[in-house]
């Protein structure tokens, strides 16, 4: 099972909402990965063990793994394109 990490500013609401939505999409599409919601302050620790980073905050840094737009999963706008990027990262 591959790991995808998602982080938001307070860790109270948005990251978990996105995580639950993406986990459902992964399951429905039989993609062998799961999403872990973490606090933004600890996200760097999870990068090495993850295949993609779903960001709900502005990303100023370069990451060695694909960065996916998390707001797309929150609003549904542009969700298909972002999900495809995610699946590609899992299958890479």
């Amino acid at each position: 099972m591959k790991q995808i990490v998602v982080a938001c500013g307070s860790g109270v609401a948005t990251s978990q909402t996105v995580a639950s939505k993406v986990n459902r999409l992964l399951k429905e599409n039989n993609v062998p990965a799961e999403v872990l919601a973490v606090d933004i302050k600890s996200v760097d620790r999870y990068i090495p063990s993850s295949v993609a980073y779903i960001a709900i905050t502005k990303v100023d840094k370069e990451y060695p793994i694909p960065v996916i737009n998390g707001i797309a999963f929150l609003t549904g706008v542009g969700q298909d394109a972002e999900f495809k990027k995610l699946v590609d990262a899992v299958n890479a």
């Binding site: 307070s10 109270v12 609401a13 909402t17 995580a19 933004i40 709900i56 998390g70 609003t75 549904g76």
Partner: protein
């Protein structure tokens, strides 16, 4: 606690006049402190969090802001629903350089968070319900056209799934 039970009539603000986001936060925080929903630390906490992690959602037909602060500043969970008289500038979530003219604000006061399995699931569901409804023109029409706080409250409670 059911979602709709965290929407209080006394926390509906209709056609508030504020010059900018800071004035909105000051006014809202003062009211929340007075009514016992948040601690004194809330005003600074919400402003700092918003500056670092903005909360305007670029949804159609209208952008909606969902400001929230860390749980330690909250006393009693709430959703405070505001319609401003005139929109104020609000930065987009995850895209801080993009500004929106925001009139509709749903301030979320949550307890719990990571590691709080019970509390967090509720937030997840609530946020999904709200965001889904923000994108329904018929729901937003009711929010636009509500003439009194009671009508606004009814419009919010009419959201599917709430």
């Amino acid at each position: 606690m059911a979602h709709r039970d965290t929407i209080y009539r006394e926390l509906i603000q209709l056609d508030w006049e504020v010059a900018d986001q800071t004035e909105f936060f000051d006014k809202m925080a003062a009211k929340l402190v007075e009514l016992g929903y948040v601690k004194e630390t809330f005003a600074d906490a919400i402003k700092t969090r918003e500056a670092n992690f903005p909360t305007a959602l670029p949804v159609e037909p209208f952008p909606v802001a969902i400001p929230h602060a860390d749980p330690q500043h909250i006393i009693k969970p709430f959703i405070a629903c505001t319609r401003l008289k005139n929109p104020v500038k609000w930065c987009e979530m995850a895209n801080n350089d993009e500004e929106h003219d925001v009139k509709f604000i749903f301030m979320l006061g949550f307890l719990g968070g990571h590691g709080d399995a019970d509390g967090s699931n509720e937030h997840v569901e609530l946020l999904q319900i709200l965001v889904m409804n923000f994108q329904k023109p018929e729901v937003m029409d009711r929010l636009v056209n509500a003439k009194t706080e009671d009508e606004y409250m009814e419009a919010v409670l009419s959201m599917e799934g709430l």
